[in-house]
């Protein structure tokens, strides 16, 4: 089995995205890491049923050509649009916060909000 294939790379990217989401304090980098996490799941879905002799699932005529599985690709279309929506809205909120607190550091923003709300 070829060890370097879409699925393993997707899992590695998922891990890298998680690391970025947790360890980096800049809010924009957190958003990018979230995008990476979601993108890696998309990669995993698309490369699930990939086959080396595969042909895109566009039917030209009768007769069974080795078409690649079309279902994950259809699922991925929805997933991509949903990721776009999430990133857009998260970016809007990040922009609102950054304008209010003049910093993109998530820990500093959290600290200032805790101070504002009072104990």
């Amino acid at each position: 089995m070829n060890f370097i294939n879409g699925v393993t790379i997707a899992i590695v990217l998922f891990g890298i995205g998680l690391l970025g989401l947790i360890l980096r304090r800049d809010l924009v980098i957190k958003l990018l890491s979230l995008g990476l996490v979601n993108g890696s799941v998309i990669l995993c879905l698309v490369s699930l049923n990939a086959r080396p002799d595969g042909v895109p699932p566009i039917v030209r005529g009768p007769g069974g050509a080795p078409y690649v599985d079309p279902l994950p690709q259809a699922l991925v279309l929805s997933a991509i649009v949903i990721n776009f929506a999430i990133l857009a809205l998260a970016l809007v909120f990040v922009m609102l916060l950054v304008e209010r607190y003049h910093t993109t550091d998530s820990q500093r923003i959290e600290h200032e909000i805790e101070e504002e709300e009072g104990p």
């Binding site: 899992i11 304090r25 566009i58 039917v59 030209r60 599985d69 079309p70 259809a74 929805s78």
Partner: protein, 236 residues
């Protein structure tokens, strides 16, 4: 509080490494795979569309696509609501100093880009493409215009309120069209249009109509999102 503490880095790295390791070990991935047999066997004949992916997400699993359009609409709604009220510090959207290179290349490129978008939408059931990609291509073509001419010039051509109503109107049309088989006492989201000849433009039942409507919606939505960000920021 200033730096991420060393213990946290270690714990994070350990947890994430274990997570990835467990996933890789138990996934059971054997390399190549085969799947999607029911769609491949019957898809083209039952739906009339040559592109099996379009057949799936606009016919077999149309409900998911409808919900996903709603997700897109909610995103556009949210972006517009939060960014419309707060203008940037400048009233006028600043322009990139208009260079001849940008202007000329935008003149040359915008028509083909727009045509490509329309092609992708119309031929979505015959070749890779569809409403989403076509709409995005056309929307970013409009962004190219905004870069070349200035965003305010482009925005002046679209009346803001009319754009909003058009967008939700298209959504209304999509939903009503999806519900229309009820009038004939069939289940909603059923495709009642004729299938046509496989491979010709007039095939695939109502997939073409859905592609066109979705393409229009995504086009407007992409422009609204991009323009909201530009206007809020005050510059491109």
């Amino acid at each position: 509080m200033r730096r991420t503490s060393f213990s946290m880095v270690v714990v994070t790295a350990l947890l994430v490494a274990c997570f990835c390791g467990v996933l890789m070990a138990t996934f059971g991935y054997r390399g190549a795979g085969e799947g999607g047999a029911p769609y491949i066997a019957r898809g083209a004949v039952e739906t009339g569309a040559a592109n099996l992916v379009s057949a799936i997400y606009l016919n077999y699993r149309l409900y998911d696509t409808l919900l996903e359009i709603l997700v897109f609409s909610v995103a556009v709604l949210g972006v517009r609501f939060y960014l419309a009220e707060q203008k940037g510090s400048e009233e006028e959207v600043a322009r990139i100093p208009e260079s001849q290179v940008i202007r000329t290349s935008a003149d040359l490129l915008f028509p083909p880009i727009f045509l490509l978008g329309i092609y992708l939408v119309l031929f979505g059931h015959l070749s890779p493409g569809g409403g989403f990609s076509g709409g995005t291509v056309a929307g970013t073509g409009l962004l190219l215009c905004a870069v070349a001419l200035g965003a305010d010039v482009v925005a002046r051509r679209f009346h803001e309120a009319a754009l909003e109503r058009l967008e939700w109107g298209v959504l209304l049309v999509i939903l009503l069209f999806a519900l229309s088989p009820i009038a004939l006492w069939r289940l909603p989201l059923t495709d009642l249009f004729p299938r046509g000849n496989l491979g010709s433009l007039a095939s695939g039942g109502s997939i073409l109509i859905y592609n066109a409507l979705i393409g229009l919606k995504v086009f407007i939505g992409t422009w609204v999102v991009v323009y909201s960000f530009i206007r809020h920021r005050g510059e491109i």
